[in-house]
Amino acid sequence: MAKKPRVKLPKKAKAGDIVQVKTLAAHNMETGNRKDKKGAKIPRLILNKFTCTFNGADVFSADMHPSVSANPYISFFITAKESGTYEFTWTDDNGKVTTVSNDMAVS
């Protein structure tokens, strides 16, 4: 990924609040079905795994297939319980991992 993925997570939340997390990774998600001008297949290269952990514990993950759009957008909801660090990772077909960490303070 050339660009860093974008994560939208509020910096502060009240305990018990349900918070929406929005993520957007920059990736062209090559399906492996397309052909180049010479008719040769363009090899598949997608982000196949997304995970979100909170202080090391699994919160949410997604397994992606070629039918996910380019620049995959994923949003989900979490309950704010305590302050800590949310870590987001994206893994591509070559095993390359991109990580983004965000802190959220819960009062």
Partner: protein
Amino acid sequence: MSKNIQQMVRLDRREALKAAGVGVLALGFATTAHATPEAAAEALSKISGGAAASMSDKVTISLPEIAENGATVPVGVSVDSPMTADSYVKHIHVFAEGNPSPETISFNLTATGKAEVNTRIRLSKTQNVMVAAIMNDGSVLTSKKEVKVTIGGCGG
């Protein structure tokens, strides 16, 4: 390409014969195999371990009725669940019945927030999108919605 074939089916015999030449030509070019509803159901039973799936109005799919660009179709899934440690949605699987492969995206949830996810998917043609929610007790709830796709988005 597949549009030609669909139209052909609707025509009467005489016109069908006239169109046959065109149809055969179209078939010759249709190299990308597409999944069927059966393939999607099979993919689901593989994932769920063969548990009986039932249609449920607890699963809501939000999708546009007409997607102008199949390369990026917003899809939202929400499941009516309290999301507590006793009762929560474990997985949400999205299948596109007419794509080259039906599996699209699978979400693995934990007992937090609410059971709602949003993403964007590719759809190669007008088709049904099937969603299956697997609860923590192992029950499988499904729902289906049709999307009309103007321009397909799977390459090929």
